[in-house]
């Protein structure tokens, strides 16, 4: 654990990506295969099976620290991380050991096989021989969510440096449903495996937002435009007689979207599509909140299947007849995509996402302005001769979204954030006027600078009117411009409306609160855009 802790410290003690990559590459150069495998797993969002509940962990930690449980619970939101809170509270270790990362993961796994009453002693024994940093990491293995300043991209780059393999090839190897329990470092990274996991997706190619004028992209003839849908980015994979559906977050979502498995009835095996999963009313996508109902459910009741059926609006073909097409130019991939999907019957759960014809950037800008009527957020621009790259890259793909909708609203409640934002008020509830009353209608967490959050935090502390647990009611005094992507009816909210992706666009220090918008203004927006 010492060398893993040293790796963590090296990463944690710098803000430079190059220094982080270097530390990680060095670690990959000398760590054991088991430790490397687990490090790759942890930094790609995998974790050991949960060995103990956090409720138990809190109780044992409080006992070990000699403090009442409430005191630990009160420290937690201030520290912002349970694993760290516990590491800071425990008394100093009695002995030191240098057992490996994979040893401790094995120890956690072994907890499943021992009687529940014997588990606390095992955890205590671990704490007693780990120092503060090692304990933090050990606790992190239990509580999950191993986000410590290393993105998957950074980890993949370091692994590429350490192994001499191509970064994109490695990124592909690390996709899919592997776990360290069922593979080895050799099988995952080193072995040439033609019989790779049948369900393995390709790394998604992600676009940046277009900030410069579109005309600077050059001739319109070199570009393909499509609607930018507001759904779930997904890959539908037809291989080995089965259909697999992956989200961009690399979650296997096949069971959630049983409609899509029927793709196999209409299309040959050895085919992989990239596209947008949307709920579909027969002619166009339904509002995002209908899709939201589907996302949360692992099994879908019949009624919902009928009310909110999904399809894939396919916009790219990554594999055809078992052949990886990613190096083929988009124009050719598009032609093959259209050929594949051209003659499908209407009940097929896939359609080609239409290409928007345009011959001038001005013309396209006009079409883009109508995006909301098409249930789209804007348009996508893709260079016709571009390959399908991996990860977020500039140059060949751009998203050109509509300007967001905005309202001016009054801040009425504030709550502290966690993690990096612990001890800082960052989570706010906003209200609009209904007569003389302020009615809450949305929360927002993002959009301000650190300096602004610092200032508003000081202000919240001095202007708290009441406390409801962690929530503070504050004097209505500050107006913020709230930007959002969509608005829809919601009986669950007091205001009767819900926003899509609300965030703070600006702190309107120039505006008194009586100039904030009204609920009526929001209702007008709902009838226009909802």
């Amino acid at each position: 654990m010492k060398d893993f802790a040293a790796l963590f410290s090296a990463i944690d003690q710098t803000t430079r990506t190059t220094a982080k990559t270097k530390a990680l590459a060095e670690y990959f150069g000398h760590a054991s295969d088991d430790d490397k495998l687990w490090t790759i797993a942890l930094f790609s969002g995998r974790r050991p099976r949960r060995a103990v509940t956090t409720t138990d962990l809190r109780a044992w930690a409080a006992e070990e620290a000699g403090i009442p449980l409430w005191l630990l619970e009160d420290c937690y939101p201030i520290v912002g991380d349970l694993a760290e809170t516990i590491a800071l509270l425990l008394p100093p270790p009695e002995t030191v050991s240098d057992l490996s990362l994979s040893h401790w993961i094995g120890e956690l796994r072994a907890l499943h096989d021992i009687a529940p009453e014997d588990r606390p002693a095992r955890i205590r024994a671990a704490w007693a021989q780990l120092d503060e940093t090692e304990r933090f990491l050990f606790n992190k293995l239990i509580t999950g969510g191993f986000r410590i300043g290393v993105s998957r991209k950074l980890m993949t780059r370091a692994l590429a440096e350490a192994t001499g393999q191509d970064e994109a090839v490695l990124a592909h190897k690390l996709m899919g449903s592997w776990t360290p329990d069922r593979t080895s470092y050799h099988a995952l990274i080193e072995a040439e495996d033609p019989a790779a996991d049948q369900s393995r997706p390709y790394p998604f190619y992600l676009a940046y937002q277009l900030d410069d004028p579109a005309a600077e992209l050059g001739s319109p003839q070199d570009w393909q435009a499509e609607w930018k849908w507001d759904g779930i980015r997904g890959q539908v994979i037809l291989r080995g007689g089965e259909t697999h559906v992956w989200s961009r977050g690399e979650e296997l979502m096949t069971d959630r979207f049983p409609e899509l498995t029927r793709a196999a009835d209409f299309l040959p095996m050895g085919t992989v599509f990239d596209g947008e999963i949307v709920t579909w009313d027969g002619t166009q996508p339904m509002p995002f909140n209908s899709l939201q109902q589907r996302i949360g459910r692992k099994t879908v009741p019949k009624k919902l299947l009928k009310e909110a059926p999904v399809i894939l609006l396919a916009y790219d073909l990554l594999e055809d007849q078992g052949q990886d097409l990613r190096d083929t130019p988009l124009r050719d991939r598009r032609a093959r995509l259209e050929a594949l999907l051209a003659d499908l019957p209407p009940e097929a759960p896939l359609r080609a996402s239409p290409v928007i014809g345009f011959d001038s950037w001005d013309g396209l800008a006009q079409t883009r302005a109508e995006a909301r009527a098409h249930r789209a957020e804007g348009v996508m621009l893709k260079r016709r001769d571009s390959p399908y790259l991996s990860g977020r890259k500039k140059g060949d793909w751009w998203k050109w979204k509509l300007e967001p909708l905005t309202v001016d609203a009054v801040m009425i409640y504030a709550q502290q954030g966690s993690g990096r934002r612990a001890n800082l008020f960052t989570d706010f509830t906003f209200a609009v006027w209904k007569g003389n009353e302020l009615v809450p209608f949305t929360k927002a967490y993002s959009g301000l600078t650190d300096a602004e959050f610092d200032r508003i935090t000081t202000w919240v502390r001095r202007n708290t009117q009441a406390r409801f647990g962690p929530v503070r009611q504050v004097t209505p005094e500050h107006v913020f411009e709230i930007a959002f992507e969509g608005i829809h009816e919601s009986p669950r909210h007091k205001s009767g409306i819900a926003l899509r992706f609300p965030r703070m666009a600006r702190w309107r220090q120039d505006k008194p609160i009586d100039e904030a918008n009204t609920l009526e203004d929001l209702r007008d927006m709902l009838s226009t855009y909802g």
């Binding site: 005191l71 009160d74 420290c75 201030i78 991380d81 934002r421 001890n423």
Partner: protein
């Protein structure tokens, strides 16, 4: 202003020794305030930090050791000095100042009226730092204590181990051809860090830090040689130097002349990873001039006081804990540093 029950009354006194008003902590028997936050006639000041020594009072009283910095920060003030341990009668109150171990010149203020003793801690730390007058426990009936770090997650490591961390960081930066930019408050923390550095190259200081250095050196505090960063200074002539500046200067144009650099920040808040990351510095050194959890307990225990009034910091949590452990503890709202990170706004202006 005491929330909940009124301050305890001893004997036949009708008025407590100290009360809590919207201008600050007040002594009716002596008609003076301690660290008031609105202008008053007579102010007793624990130490020179901006949230305790505010401008606008008619008369100031502080330790002889604290006064030079206060005069520097507050300009023309009418002030008297007092030695540590010296007793002075003010109206019906006997007053004395005792070392608080927070920064050079800092004091706890003891107030005795008709045999009843109250102590106002100001800011304090219980472990000696080798620079300022070490903390001295004072027996009392009622103790008004800060609790900036009144949570059990705050436990400081030995000063020597933090010093070697900082020195090792400096050495590694020198070897890599980088400057070491260390953020620290200009009064107290900066000088404490200076006293912990092993001489291994030039030490440069921001104007706010150097002004305080000069005053403290004049008073006889021992600090290593430092060089004030002026526009004439050529960074190329001082490769591998360590630069001490207030945190606000580190992110500014001022610091940009020192490149490449590794940045560090020294504060008790660096104990928390979230806050460390928010600072976006390369390194956070956990070193504070406030008492940690164990220090607060030791101080409170050693006063022998039954009544504890907790002011700035995690007051609600700390008071609840003290009450569960048998003290009579109450939260007193004040306008000292509060829950905020210990960044006095005046630091930014300097």
């Amino acid at each position: 202003m005491v929330s909940g029950a009124a301050a305890p009354i001893v004997g036949l006194m009708t008025e407590p020794v100290l009360t809590f008003t919207d201008r600050g902590i007040y002594c009716p028997a002596g008609d003076f305030f301690i660290d008031p936050w609105r202008p008053v006639d007579r102010a007793l000041i624990t130490h020179g930090h901006a949230d305790h020594a505010r401008p606008g009072h008619t008369h100031y009283l502080a330790t002889d050791a604290a006064l030079p910095v206060m005069r520097h920060r507050l300009g023309e003030i009418t002030a008297q000095g007092i030695a540590y341990g010296e007793t002075r009668q003010i109206g019906g109150a006997q007053v004395s100042f005792h070392p608080a171990g927070h920064i050079p010149g800092s004091a706890q203020i003891r107030v005795e009226v008709a045999g009843e003793v109250w102590v106002v801690s100001g800011d304090y730390k219980t472990t000696p730092d080798g620079l300022c007058e070490p903390f001295e426990p004072v027996r009392c009936h009622s103790f008004i204590s800060e609790c900036t770090f009144g949570l059990p997650v705050f436990k400081w490591h030995d000063q020597r181990s933090v010093a070697s961390e900082i020195n090792a960081w400096w050495a590694a930066n020198r070897a890599a051809g980088r400057f070491s930019l260390l953020g620290a408050y200009s009064l107290g923390k900066a000088q404490r860090l200076l006293s912990l550095l092993e001489p291994q190259g030039p030490i440069l200081t921001h104007g706010a830090v150097e002004a305080t250095n000069a005053i403290l050196r004049d008073q006889g505090y021992t600090l290593p040689d430092t060089t004030h960063v002026t526009p004439a200074l050529n960074p190329k002539e001082v490769p591998g130097a360590l630069v001490i500046a207030p945190p606000s200067a580190l992110g500014s144009q001022w610091a940009r002349r020192f490149r490449p650099a590794s940045t560090g920040f020294a504060s008790g808040w660096m104990r928390l990873r979230g806050i460390r990351r928010r600072r976006a510095m390369d390194r956070g050194f956990v070193i504070s001039d406030h008492a940690d959890w164990d220090g607060l307990h030791a101080a409170i225990r050693d006063t022998g006081a039954e009544n504890i009034y907790v002011t700035h910091g995690y007051t609600d949590i700390f008071a609840r804990w003290l009450n569960e452990r048998g003290w009579n503890a109450q939260v007193v709202p004040t306008e000292f540093g509060g829950e905020e990170e210990d960044s006095a706004p005046a630091e930014a202006a300097e």
